[in-house]
Every structure is written in C-alpha cells, then in structure tokens.
Symmetry: C2
Subunit: 229 residues, 2 copies
DNA sequence: ATTAAAGTGTGATCTATATCACAAAAAAAT
DNA sequence: ATTTTTTTGTGATATAGATCACACTTTAAT
C-alpha cells in the first residue's frame, strides 16, 4: 500500500487534509521488523512516534527469570512510541514485533511540531490514551478480582474485540499465539492457562486448532469474565 | 485560596497568561465534597472536568460483594473527570472524596474549546495521561510478578512518592488510611496486608502510629518492591 | 527425511494467601 | 462516660494455582 493512502486511513490523522498528509509523508520514514524482533527497549529514548502499518506488536514488561507480562497487543493503524515521547520521562515498556511488521516513523521533533499546528491530532491522542488507560485500569481490576478462568476469559475477549473474525464456524482468532503468550496476557502460568483452555473446550465454548482458536460460545466466555467484576 | 491564584498554580494551565486564566476562572465553578462522598459514578456522563483544589480523591472500581480496587489516589492540582470527557466512551471508574475536598469544575464544552485554542494544554494532558498509563502498566506488572510483601511495598512507595513528608523521624504518610484501604490499593485482603505490615514493622522498616505511618527504612521497602520486578 | 528444538498436555506436589472466626482495641455515637 | 459500631490483629484451615517433572507433539533445521 502507498504510504500516503495508509496515512489517510489512520484515525489519528483523519482530520488532516491532503496537503497536510503529504507533508507528514515527506517527514516520515518506514521500517520493517521481523517476527520477534525488538522494536525498542525499556531504556531507549523516545525519539520516534511509530504508526503500525502491517502486522502486530506486543508491548510488554519483563520480570526476573524470563517472566513477562504482555501489556497490550497493537494492530495496524495504532501508534506507539516510548511514551517519553510525550512526557519526557523514561523507563517504559519493550515493544516487540509479534508478527512480521511494518511501521511508519515520525521523529519526535516533527511530531511535536505537528501537534502544535493541529490540535485535532492532540485531541485524538488524548482520546486514545484515555481509552488505553481505561483498559489498563480494567485489567488491574481483573487481576485482583478474577480467578484463573476469569483471567483467561478476559484475555480472550480482548483478542476477540481487537481481531476476532466472525465466520459461520464461530469467532476466529488467528494470531498464532502460543500458550505462553496467552498466559503472559492473562497473568498466569503456562500450565494453568492450558488447563483452563481445556475446561473451556470441554464446556464447548472454544475449539482449538493447530494455529487458530475458534470461539464457539462467546456468551460462556463473557460470563466467566464477569463472574466477579 | 483565591480561585485565580489556585488556577495559576495548576501545571495544566502553567502556559496560559493572566487573561486566559481569568477567562477560565469566569467559566469555572467550585464544589466541596465531604469525606466519603461520591463525586461521580462509573455510569455518569462525563460532563465536567474536575481539578482538585483541596483534599484527596480515590478512583476505584468495585467488584462483587463490596470488593474494591483503588486505581489511584489524586491530590490537589490534579485533574480528573469521567474520561468519557475525552473519548466519548463510557463505563469508567468511581471517584470518591478520600478526605473533605474541594474541586474546580469546568464543563465539557468550555474545556474542549479551551484545548482547541491552546494546544499546550492538550500537550500537558497527553503527558499526564501517558504518565498515568505507565503507572497503571507498572501496577499490572506488580500484580503479576510480586508476592504480598512486594505488593504492599509497592503501594507504600506510591504513597511516599505522592505525599510522603520527610521529617527527622522518617518519611511520614499522614493520610489516615485504614487497613482495608491499603489492601484495596495493594490488591490483597485486609488480613494479609496486616500481617505484611507487621513483618515490615518487625524488620524496622516502618512504624505504625494511631493515624499515620512512618517509613523508617525506605531502602528495605524498595528492595521488597523490586524483588522480582 | 531425519534429527533437533520448541512448545504442549497432564499428573503429583507444595505453598502462599484467601477465608473463616473471634477477641481486642479504637473510634464514634449517645 | 457508656454503649455501640467500626476497625484491627491473629490463629486455624482450606484451596487455587504455582512449581516440578516428564512424555508427547508439533515445528524448524539440516
């Protein structure tokens, strides 16, 4: 896809006119990342704003001994960047390509400049950040209130919402995500996640296939996720 | 304190001039809330932006049977508002006065207007939101990685950072917060929180007094909080 | 195709923390 | 000042989920 067409389709820029978009095009670059490649690390400076063009990325924090939490997964048209970009403050999360991905990069200067000239863009960013904040807050509540089944259910609902495709078979999630990744998303161990998925399968709520997951009964999953929340 | 002096001291408005501040003063109102009074509920519309002038408020989500998580506590000069204010979307948290409090209110329209005219304000909001998002993300990691001692330690560090006062005795936290509130902040039960505090006291890291908490050895608390993160 | 590596399912423990149940202490109400 | 209510400490117990261990399966590498 042409970069200009892509930029036009990004919600962040939806209020800009042709000329303004062309300007962004001229100041932006593009980069590709291979699956599992680290796009940037917790410690790096927030020098660029990234807009994901293809693929998906995970934002995560790591604990000791290989433990990791996935904070969120982002899909095309969403932006990210060490949030130092916005608040000048550091120690943020790690961003890793979840699949082969492409991103458009705008450097910090140009981006701040853009915002100065286009308050609509700043408003959009505020809106997206507050949406993400709300999601994070709900996640905190899930971790405190829900048991293992509830946590897995919550994670599945997020995946459904972000990238589930409705088919006659059911809702298909075809990110190839390993048990371990799902468990990092739910905040559980791999083993517990496996056992929970088996229970869901036995209950007829999901079907597991080699590399996709099919949600047969969203209602059951929803009920689990709302048990205590 | 005069409202105009107060507004001038709010970081959100630090780039505005005298005239602009006077304008805000003219479009804003003021309200007082008694301790434990609900300022607004999860379901309410985001009609106003609130800027806390005196006291403190807690932002929380409730689960079943009286369970609750405190997402954050806000202090004077910080803003809040159903974030529907920004993203037009609902189902947010409940805000309750933690102590007797006063807030300045600006209605949605006027506020959006203000942002349109003053990109600096939008930038400040972006910056604050991304700071809150980062904090929420770290909290998610704490809940997944840390044990009870770590979680309590993390909560104490937050309190120290936001409102600890250094004295020769140690760092004093004089929010009168009950065990239950601290446990809602840490994501634990009241009983576990009590036991952890006792351990910290035995270790000489804190001293508990009738209505204040004194941190004697911040280093011990820090070590606990970083055990696995 | 065969071998190697990575990921998954599942049983058997073990343990941290929730839960339950009071008594003691403190705060609020009369 | 007494009584009532709320909050706190602390023991005893139960249990969900972590941890460990290993066979089995799938995917990747040669």
């Amino acid at each position: 896809m042409e970069r200009s067409d892509f930029l036009k389709s990004v919600p962040l820029f939806s209020d800009l006119n042709r000329e303004e978009l062309r300007q962004i095009e001229s100041i932006s670059g593009e980069k590709r990342y291979r699956k599992n490649e680290i796009i940037f690390h917790a410690e790096d400076l927030g020098a660029y704003l990234f807009i994901l063009k293809e693929g998906s990325v995970k934002i995560s924090l790591q604990g000791r001994e290989g433990r990791e939490v996935i904070l969120r997964i982002l899909y095309p048209k969403e932006f990210f960047g060490d949030m130092a970009l916005l608040d000048g403050y550091h120690r943020s999360a790690t961003v890793t390509a979840f699949e082969d991905s492409k991103a458009v990069l705008i450097n910090r200067e140009d981006f701040l400049n853009l915002i100065g000239k286009h308050p609509e863009v700043a408003l959009k960013i505020m809106s997206i950040l507050s949406k993400r904040l709300r999601k994070a807050d709900e996640r905190i509540a899930s971790l405190v209130f829900l048991d293992a089944h509830g946590k897995v259910a919550r994670s599945l609902l997020d995946l459904i919402q972000e990238q589930g495709k409705k088919t006659e078979e059911g809702i298909v999630i075809d990110l190839k995500l390993r048990r371990e990744e799902l468990s990092d998303l739910a905040g559980l161990t791999r083993e517990t996640t496996t056992r929970v998925l088996k229970d869901f399968e036995t209950a007829g709520a999901i079907r597991r296939e080699r590399k996709r997951l099919i949600i047969l009964r969203e209602d059951i999953i929803k009920r689990e996720a709302e048990k205590s929340l």
